[in-house]
């Protein structure tokens, strides 16, 4: 057995793992032994330990974690955050022709009429943020959040717009925000993945590519936790195999792999040994993580969470538990916000499902001192039209709208209690402080201590970045 092999074996020895717990899985000695070019030579080989080593940001970062709440289908900004008295005044009148000349919509045709909101808006908190009655709990947190009413995107169909929002590109195949963040910052969790995805309801239309790593190595893709049963596929042992037996089996795999490592000298075996050790630790830690029943009653009530149920409230609570355990990026999707009709029934229903848990999440993070280092983001893939779709009665809805919509951010270096950006009187176009999806991405990376122009990955002869060739940091949002 040569010296190198001995070092490798020592590096992946379980005892060393246990000792290195406090600094996370990436910090094992393996990382310093194997440099990148060895692991990526020729093919795109990446080992889990080395690739996930926690990395120091380029500059002092405000945020260490991200919780991103995406309302799939696109909530109506005009009924939640962007109150337009003039639109209200012209409710039912035809939309000005010059506004929509040459425009493409998913469904609207001909001469649509304007539609004001049926919701009451009020100013809240010291900040005086104007928020709809549909979100009473979030309104109570208005001094914590920065509302951006001037978001705009480039896509107006769900699939492409979701991919655009997550990857900065309108077709599938690029790495998503969470993957870029994992790639840029690595993991701080000893026994959980760096990037976790929680979905309530249907999987979003654009599918798994929303948390895919594109051309980045697959270790950076999001790991979707399932809402019920075992959160990670195959984390549960088969019937009859208990933890002791599993531990014995994993032990033997390690010992036999160590023999093979000594025999072949292939450093990839060291990576595989490390992967089995993490897998075994995940098996032990996941059940505890999912045991939300152990939360105090008042916490469960605050979220409106019922342990064991597949709900958005449970996912919000789980998001906090994940961040507490060092997970870098938690992505929540909530299905059912595509209100082409019956918006005055369906939007309030959806708001009731998410309003309370989201406010509870902010409050809970703040109470635990986690909000300062956790960036919370709320939004959809685009907005909805100031024009009515369908019949002008109980069945009315709003079509997809890419020119102007609202998102909000909180914690993690975001200036609390501010409003940014304005739309025109009808809420159709942004007229002040426009924020493009690329700008949002640049700002998120900045808050995490990475320069969006420098966080690149070479693929097909080109250095790719999340913000492609765009992106300006939105300084006004920063503390």
């Amino acid at each position: 057995m040569n010296g190198l092999t001995q070092q490798l074996i020592r590096a992946v020895n379980r005892r060393e793992f246990l000792r290195s717990e406090s600094v996370g899985i990436g910090a094992i000695a393996l990382a310093s032994l194997l440099d990148d070019d060895l692991l990526t030579a020729g093919t795109k080989r990446v080992d889990s330990a080395n690739g996930m080593q926690a990395r120091v940001p380029e500059f002092a970062a405000a945020a260490k974690h991200v919780i991103y709440l995406h309302m799939v289908g696109a909530p109506s900004q005009l009924d939640l955050f962007d109150y337009k008295p003039v639109l209200q005044k012209h409710n039912g009148e035809p939309c000005p022709k010059d506004l929509i000349a040459g425009e493409r919509f998913a469904f609207l045709k001909g001469d649509p009429n304007l539609m004001g909101t049926w919701c009451r808006f009020a100013k809240h908190g010291q900040s005086g943020q104007e928020i709809s009655e549909l979100l009473p709990h979030i309104a109570q947190m208005s001094d914590e959040i920065a509302v951006v009413r001037s978001m705009n995107t480039e896509e107006f169909n769900h699939g492409p717009a979701q991919v655009f929002m997550m990857t900065g590109f309108g077709r599938q195949g690029r790495p998503c925000l969470g993957s870029w963040v994992s790639y840029g910052l690595g993991s701080e969790s000893h026994d959980l993945p760096a990037f976790v995805v929680l979905v309530t309801g249907q999987t979003p239309g654009a599918g798994t590519s929303l948390w895919g790593s594109g051309f980045l190595p697959p270790i950076y893709q999001g790991v979707r936790f399932r809402a019920q049963g075992a959160p990670v596929l195959y984390a549960a042992n088969p019937p009859g195999i208990d933890e002791q037996t599993r531990g014995g089996i994993v032990d033997d795999i390690r010992r036999l792999n160590e023999i093979q490592l000594a025999e072949s000298g292939d450093p990839e075996i060291a990576a595989r040994i490390a992967a089995y050790e993490l897998a075994f630790r995940m098996q032990s830690s996941l059940p505890g993580l999912m045991q939300t029943a152990g939360e105090p009653k008042h916490v469960l009530e605050m979220y409106g969470a019922r342990p064991g149920e597949a709900s958005f409230a449970n996912n919000c609570l789980l998001a906090r538990r994940l961040v507490e355990r060092g997970v870098r990026f938690v992505q929540l999707y909530d299905d059912g916000w595509d209100h082409h009709n019956r918006i005055n029934h369906e939007l309030p229903d959806k708001c009731r499902e998410v309003d309370r848990p989201i406010a509870a999440l902010l409050r809970d993070l703040k109470q635990r001192g986690l909000l300062d280092e956790t960036l919370v983001i709320f939004g959809g893939e685009f907005g909805r039209t100031p024009m009515l779709q369908g019949e002008a009665d109980d069945r009315a809805g709003r079509d997809h709208h890419k020119h102007a919509f609202t998102m909000w951010l909180a914690g993690g270096g975001i200036k609390p209690g501010i409003s940014l950006g304005k739309t025109d009187d009808l809420g159709y176009h942004v007229v002040e402080d426009p924020v493009h999806v690329n700008d949002l991405h640049a700002t998120i990376l900045h808050l995490l201590g990475r320069d969006h122009r420098k966080l690149t990955y070479r693929f097909q002869g080109r250095d790719y970045r999340l913000t492609d060739v765009g992106g300006n940091i939105v300084d006004k949002l920063l503390i």
Partner: protein
């Protein structure tokens, strides 16, 4: 700052103009022409201008890339001209193209392309420098005079086989090329791999399956000098060969059984997948393989098979989300066909020229849309059904596939099942909402029946009247620009003038003897599949930004040899796997790491994890579960409940297959783009949403969990345990049973130390199950013990088999 434009201008454009520029250099500029702000300050090129070029321009116009044939770090290039003439006319800013381009004047894209513009101060400085005579000290910068053509765009010339000092290890020409480089560096081949190792390696490489114990014994016993070559020939003739090599090709063809996107409904053209397997098994020459897939429909009197082959380009995604525009989707499909063709055959990132001229390679946007025009003559493939704003469906040309006896049998079987369930359904309460288990099952059966009644396959079909193609400004289908005719990139060999410029002509152009890329790109891809790295490591990019070949002469020799051997892929594989390079040991030593860290000199054989599908195939084969059934509709092996439940169109449900279809090879598993089969994804199978020519090889904890706990792999462990118990003679020792299972999993005998670890596991787990009968009951409830077998022993062996199937050695070829 690219001086794009007419690429038809000869590359060696009038270098005489440089003299004119030099002559003017001595003239004093008129003070009035100096831009405001700089007054009469003398601009110093080295101090004031060269840094601007270095910061903003030389990535694309420098030593690495010379877009438009221009280098802004070389005096002669700047004054002598790129493809569109001199960039700078000394003393005359107005006439200097450089200035027009950085200002974005004259209707051409502003430079730097896709990047922030230069600041006013920088532009002023450059202008002043030109007006003041564009003085550029002779000694400054690169002395390059003209731009050499990029190596990959020149037709390969068959190099002589190099002579080497030591001939002992030479088996093939490949070895001479590799050894010649080694000798330069004082390196040598590693020793020959052991016979077991070699047999395992070549069997996994050529068939994706492990060698059987009989095959190992036979090879071990065969001392004849051609024993190995005989094995290679046996493997090349095995039907499993086509199944193994279909996988990388199907990645490239982005073949799946679904449409992709939000709704992701079913699409039926598995006949194309079978065509690929059959073509590979028949060793269809790669030139014919190319022609039939690109333009089989345009051949005279095409056969059903030739039409099915055109399914290659029916793999494009289709968004049938309500609100999409079928015409936009059609354009996106054409774009995908262009990009895929360029990637697979030309190793070229042509897609970069979709919105603007390629930043690094000599492909203009016009080139892109001329190429686009070849594929632009098909109809829309999405149809709006039932009026505005409502459903869309994936349509487009398809053909009926003649039915085999087996298919006929399956169809009858389905009909009977449907009739039986329909009867049962009548007994259900009337107000059932249609989602009971029975109803879902019935629905799935009816769908399969619909497919089975009329097996069809998607094909390409040309419009009667060619559609006019336009350059699309910024790639936007609503912004057509100048019309263009079908054509191939100007920098490459010309398209034949005979016949119509259609897909058939394009296919002929691809396989033309003058094509500098197709043979190189193809042999490189096969080399990479076998060695884990390409001779050009950027398999997808042979352009100026790609890596240069590590062994350029070998690449060119292989490319020309490939054509000389009639484009035979089997001949190419035989050549490679019988070489000394391939037959070396894979052992890594500290000395080897020191001398050849990344194995760029091929001083050892690669040791690499199997591909996702082959991890499955291998485990099922080791367990004795693998079905040898080939071809036909996709199968639905076990997957966890609820994986599909929440995704896409409602009528696409996963109904687990039965019988041997549970144990078919991975490439037959139904491939759904938004939710591919979980264990394949975990082992780095791509989503196949778009073309992919190289997979990743990650090592993750999710892989460990899959091999440990996925019911498919745990069932394999149980089956392997049963083999260990029942196949050796009843009288054999514990150690021999362990050796039997170990050999099935790794193709070699265990050492005493390895045996001891496993024997202890067996004894310990047996004891634990004895102490906890409830564990034993739970285990046996899902995995009943074989007839007459001791239950406790069986439980112990399952644990041992679970270890064996998880060994690194069991999932790598070494």
């Amino acid at each position: 700052m690219v001086l794009y434009g007419l690429l038809t201008v000869a590359l060696a454009f009038a270098s005489g103009l440089a003299i004119a520029a030099d002559e003017k250099a001595d003239q004093k500029p008129a003070a009035s022409s100096v831009p405001a702000g700089l007054g009469s300050t003398r601009v110093d090129f080295v101090r004031d201008v060269a840094p601007i070029f270095a910061e903003h321009c030389t990535t694309c116009h420098g030593s690495d890339a010379q877009q438009g044939g221009l280098r802004l770090d070389a005096r002669k290039s700047v004054f002598g001209g790129g493809l569109t003439g001199p960039a700078v006319i000394a003393g005359s800013a107005d006439k200097s193209l450089l200035l027009h381009r950085i200002r974005g004047e004259g209707g051409l894209d502003r430079m730097p392309l896709d990047d922030d513009p230069l600041s006013q101060d920088e532009i002023d400085r450059i202008e002043a420098w030109i007006e003041q005579g564009a003085d550029w000290p002779q000694s400054f910068g690169s002395t390059a005079e003209s731009v050499r053509s990029h190596w990959a765009y020149l037709k390969p010339v068959r190099p002589p086989i190099p002579s080497v000092r030591n001939h002992e290890r030479l088996r093939t020409a490949i070895d001479a090329f590799i050894q010649a480089r080694m000798e330069d560096k004082g390196l040598t081949f590693s020793p020959e791999a052991s016979k077991e190792q070699l047999l395992r390696r070549v069997t996994l490489d050529l068939t994706g399956l492990p060698p059987t114990l009989n095959e190992i014994d036979a090879f071990w016993a065969d001392d004849s000098p051609a024993a190995y070559e005989a094995v290679v020939d046996r493997l090349l003739a095995s039907p499993a060969y086509g199944e193994r090599w279909a996988t990388p090709w199907l990645d490239a063809a982005r073949y799946t059984d679904s449409n992709g996107y939000q709704r992701d409904g079913r699409r039926v053209y598995w006949a194309y997948r079978d065509w690929v397997i059959r073509a590979l098994n028949a060793d269809m020459p790669f030139d014919r393989f190319t022609v039939e897939q690109i333009a089989g429909d345009l051949l005279p009197n095409p056969t059903v098979e030739q039409l099915v082959a055109t399914g290659f380009h029916r793999g494009t995604m289709a968004n049938v989300e309500a609100g999409t525009d079928p015409h936009e989707e059609r354009v996106l499909a054409v774009i995908d066909r262009v990009n895929t063709t360029a990637s697979v055959w030309l190793g070229t990132t042509l897609e970069c020229a979709q919105c603007h001229n390629h930043k690094y390679d000599p492909f203009s946007q016009t080139d892109y849309y001329r190429f686009f025009a070849f594929f632009n003559n098909t109809d829309t493939e999405i149809e709006v059904v039932g009026g505005e704003g409502s459903k869309r469906e994936m349509v487009g040309p398809k053909i009926a596939i003649p039915e085999t006896a087996e298919q006929q049998r399956r169809r009858d079987e389905l009909k009977q099942s449907i009739d039986r369930l329909t009867e049962q359904q009548k007994t259900l309460p009337a107000k059932s909402n249609g989602d009971s288990k029975l109803e879902l099952e019935l629905k799935a059966l009816r769908e399969e029946y619909a497919d089975a009644v009329m097996p069809t396959s998607l094909v390409m079909k040309e419009l009667a009247e060619p559609r006019m193609t336009h350059v699309l400004k910024r790639g936007d289908f609503l912004r057509p620009g100048a019309p263009v005719q079908p054509g191939t990139p100007t920098v490459l060999h010309p398209l034949s003038a005979d016949g119509a410029p259609n897909r058939a002509a394009l296919a002929q152009w691809l396989i033309d003897g003058d094509n500098p890329l197709v043979a190189r790109v193809t042999v490189n891809r096969h080399w990479a599949e076998l060695f884990g790295r390409g001779l050009v490591t950027t398999i997808e990019d042979f352009g100026t930004r790609g890596q240069r070949p590590s062994h350029p002469e070998l690449l060119d020799w292989l490319a020309t040899e490939f054509i000389r051997q009639g484009w035979s892929i089997k001949t190419l594989h035989r050549l490679i796997v019988t070489s000394t390079v391939y037959r070396q040991s894979s052992r890594v030593t500290a000395a080897l790491l020191e001398a050849d860290r990344t194995n760029a000199y091929y001083t050892r054989a690669p040791r690499r994890r199997l591909t996702a599908e082959h991890i499955r195939d291998n485990a099922l084969a080791v367990a004795g579960l693998l079905s040898g059934k080939m071809h036909g509709p996709p199968v639905f092996p076990m997957q966890p409940d609820g994986i599909w439940y929440h995704a896409g169109v409602a009528n696409n449900v996963w109904t687990t297959s039965s019988g041997e279809d549970l144990y078919r090879r991975g490439l037959y598993i139904y491939w759904r783009r938004t939710v591919p089969y979980p264990s394949l994804v975990t082992f780095d199978a791509p989503s196949r949403e778009v073309c992919s020519v190289q997979r990743s090889y990650s090592t993750t904890p999710l892989q460990a969990l899959t091999l440990l706990n996925d019911p498919v792999y745990f069932e394999a462990a149980a089956a392997l345990a049963a083999r260990m118990m029942t196949e050796p003679k009843a009288s054999v020792s514990l150690d021999d049973r362990i050796a039997y299972g170990f050999r099935l999993a790794t193709s070699r005998k265990p050492t005493a130390a390895e045996r001891e670890i496993l024997a202890n596991r067996f004894l310990q787990e047996k004891r634990r199950f004895q102490e906890s009968p409830e564990k034993l009951t739970a285990l046996l409830a899902t995995h009943p013990s074989p007839n007459g077998a001791d239950k406790l022993q069986y439980a112990g062996w399952i644990c041992v088999a679970n270890v064996l199937l998880n060994l690194d050695e069991s999932i790598v070829k070494n």
